[in-house]
Structure formats: C-alpha cells, structure tokens
C-alpha cells in the first residue's frame, strides 16, 4: 500500500486524467491510465489512439487530460510516438528541448488499435528501437464503435460482428497472442498485466519506462457494456480472469520470461465466463474446450519462464 500512497503523491494533486469525461459509468479504462501515469515520475506526453478513451475524454472544447496529449488517428499511435521521440532526440542534441528532463512518451491504445489496425505501426516502432512505452488497454473488442470483434476477442465471445446465433457460436478463432508477438520483437521490456492487479502493473510500468528502448504492456481491463456485466462486478471478474489463468501476469525482460503472479486460488474458467453476457450462449463443451486451451497456454508459459 506504500506504493498506492506513492501514486497519489506522484500526481501532485493534478490527476493526469480528471473526472468529467464521458466514458461509461463504471468503465474499466481510466484505472489503467491512472496506474500507468501516476507511476511515472517524469514529465510525460501521452499519445492516444482513437477508441473509447480518446473519444470520450476530449470532446471539444473540453478535455479530461492534464498532461500533454496527442491524438492523430486510430492505427498510427506508435508511429506518432516515434516522431515525438525522434524529435526529442534531435532537439536534445542541439540543446533545444523545452524541458530539462527526458520526457516519457506513453501510448494508450485499445486492443483494436494494438492487435489489429495499429499492429504494423507498433511493430515498426519496436523494430526501430524508439524509447517509448506502449500500453494496450485490452477490453477484448472494438468498444467505441459498438462491440465488434477484434483480434483480442477471445474464442467463443459473441460480439456484433461475431454474434452467436443459429449458425454461430461467437468468435470462431482464438485470440491473437499480442504479448507473445511483442516479445518476438526482442525489445527490452514486455509485460502482460491486469488493471486490478494494480501494484503488479505499476511495478511493470516502472521497469518499462526505465528500459533503454521500446516497451510494451498489455493490460486487460473490462468493459461493462461490451462484456455484459454490472460495473461493480468488474473487480471480481478481472480477478477471476487472472486467477483462472485466462490472463496470466508475466513479464519478459530482455527475453527472459517471468510469471509475476502465480494464482493463489483454484478458480475455474467458468467463474470468469459465466457472469458475462458475451459468453452466455456457451455450453459446457465449449467451456471445457476453453479450459483445455487455457491450461495448455499456462503450461507453455511456465515452461518458458523456467
């Protein structure tokens, strides 16, 4: 809890993202932003992809952002950040930077803006080695446009473009493993985290911004609208995601895997699936299938971390 107090102190009375924004009642995204930005003890610039977070926090002439904030489009967040970062290096070299300290460049993008349409810009920026932190707030679908399937949508989830129906069981493919893809880029720091494991997330952010090169953190967070649950159930639900091993928490530092949190309770995946409307149509066989896949993935992860 010392860390929590520290986060408060780091804000210095000015929350990076303030209230009065237009995100849904109970939206899971702001918590991610709070933990990430309050952890960083340097001046920070935010580059935001199109998505719920962006649309709902910056309706002209309002803004909920107290930090320098830049939004260009949906798919190019990492590229925009590359430009900001290169500018910083160029200006530093000719001693023309307005700030004395190195400014942290942090991207926020949803899963759509990370796994799918923003993937290439991210991959390129990772390859080029810019010093920036890319945070994906992964709520497992395109929420801003009304809950369409993304690469992050898990197998079996019903969305408006992968609806369950007479001839369909929801999304037919398993989710893209974006964290693994980032790891395959051989960047200094990659991690998978979950909003409600905020201390774990905060520690990861610390390491990420200290890395000499690009870093990527994939943060699971909920969307009550898209998942179909009561906002107040979010903490328990996200906890079940982690405990059931649907969403393992781990980090990869210079290629070395480490599980940062070992689930402490035996939580069945049903505890994760059942409270969510998007999984409401799944029968026991589907759930068993999902259970098998999760177990296999978990064991693979453990093997990697050995």
């Amino acid at each position: 809890m010392a860390r929590l107090k520290q986060l408060v102190r780091n804000q210095n009375g000015v929350p990076p993202l303030r209230g009065g924004h237009a995100l849904c009642q109970g939206c899971g995204v702001p918590m991610v932003v709070r933990v990430v930005l309050s952890t960083i003890q340097r001046p920070t610039v935010v580059v935001n992809a199109t998505g719920c977070l962006e649309v709902a926090t910056t309706r002209y002439p309002t803004t909920a952002w107290n930090v320098p904030w830049l939004h260009v489009a949906f798919e190019n967040t990492a590229a925009v950040a590359s430009g900001v970062e290169a500018a910083q290096r160029a200006l530093a070299r000719r001693h023309a930077l307005p700030a004395d300290e190195e400014v942290a460049v942090v991207c926020f993008a949803g899963d759509g803006g990370t796994y799918d349409i923003g993937m290439q810009a991210l991959s390129g920026a990772l390859e080029r080695g810019h010093r920036f932190l890319f945070v994906c707030y992964d709520n497992e679908a395109y929420m801003n446009t009304g809950v369409q399937r993304s690469g992050a949508t898990p197998y079996g989830a019903s969305t408006t473009t992968s609806p369950s129906g007479k001839e369909s069981w929801g999304k037919a493919q398993r989710r893209k493993d974006m964290t693994a893809i980032a790891v395959a880029h051989h960047v200094p720091y990659v991690a998978q985290a979950c909003s409600v494991h905020w201390d774990d997330l905060s520690r990861k952010v610390e390491k990420a911004v200290a890395a000499d090169g690009p870093s990527f953190i994939n943060v699971l967070t909920d969307c009550p609208v898209g998942w179909g649950h009561e906002p107040r159930l979010a903490p328990r639900l996200l906890d079940a995601a982690v405990e059931s091993k649907f969403w393992p928490l781990y980090e990869v530092v210079d290629g070395q895997y480490r599980v940062t949190y070992e689930p402490t309770r035996e939580v069945d995946v049903a505890e994760w699936l059942k409270p969510q409307k998007r999984f409401g149509h799944l029968n026991d066989e589907h759930i068993a299938e999902i259970r098998v896949q999760i177990d296999a993935d978990w064991h693979e992860l453990l093997a990697r971390s050995a």
């Binding site: 408060v8 924004h21 995100l23 933990v35 909920a64 906002p231 107040r232």
Partner: protein, 84 residues
C-alpha cells in the same frame, strides 16, 4: 462560437458535470470506518474521490457517475450507495 483553436487547454477548458449521469444512487462515506487505504481512489473511473494529501476527503458529486465500484472495493465497507 468564439475563436477556435485546434488545441484545448485543460487549465481553461470547461469540465462537464457528469454527476448528472447517476441513475438514482450515489456513494456515501462512513468516515469512521475509513482507513485511508485509497483503494476507492485507485479504482474510481471518474476521478471522483477527493483526497486531502493521502487521506480520503469525500466524493466529487459533480463528476461521480454512481457506478458503485468504490463501494464494492472498499475493504472496510465504509462506502454505501444511497438513493438520491
């Protein structure tokens, strides 16, 4: 409308009063129970928990949307949702 600029300055921008989005209930504190753990502050989607240094101070009802999350996560059950 006045002069436009393509940037928005948070220091002068209006802050919408999203407290109006609440649907009948709002959080209330029983201060005696509160241990200032700040978990509510951490979770609140609307930055509606006001602090005094690192101590719980109150709710910013101007922006609190009444999502009940603070009440849910408070380890001391110091927050309850009450009808408005």
């Amino acid at each position: 409308m006045g002069e436009l600029s393509w940037t928005v300055d948070p220091r002068t921008a209006p802050r919408p009063r999203t407290g109006g989005w609440r649907t009948g209930v709002k959080p209330e504190i029983e201060l005696s129970k509160c241990i200032d753990c700040l978990v509510c502050w951490l979770y609140c989607p609307d930055s509606a928990i006001e602090l005094d240094g690192t101590a719980f101070k109150g709710f910013d009802y101007d922006v609190c949307k009444g999502c009940e999350i603070c009440a849910e996560v408070c380890p001391e059950d110091a927050i309850t949702m009450v009808a408005e």
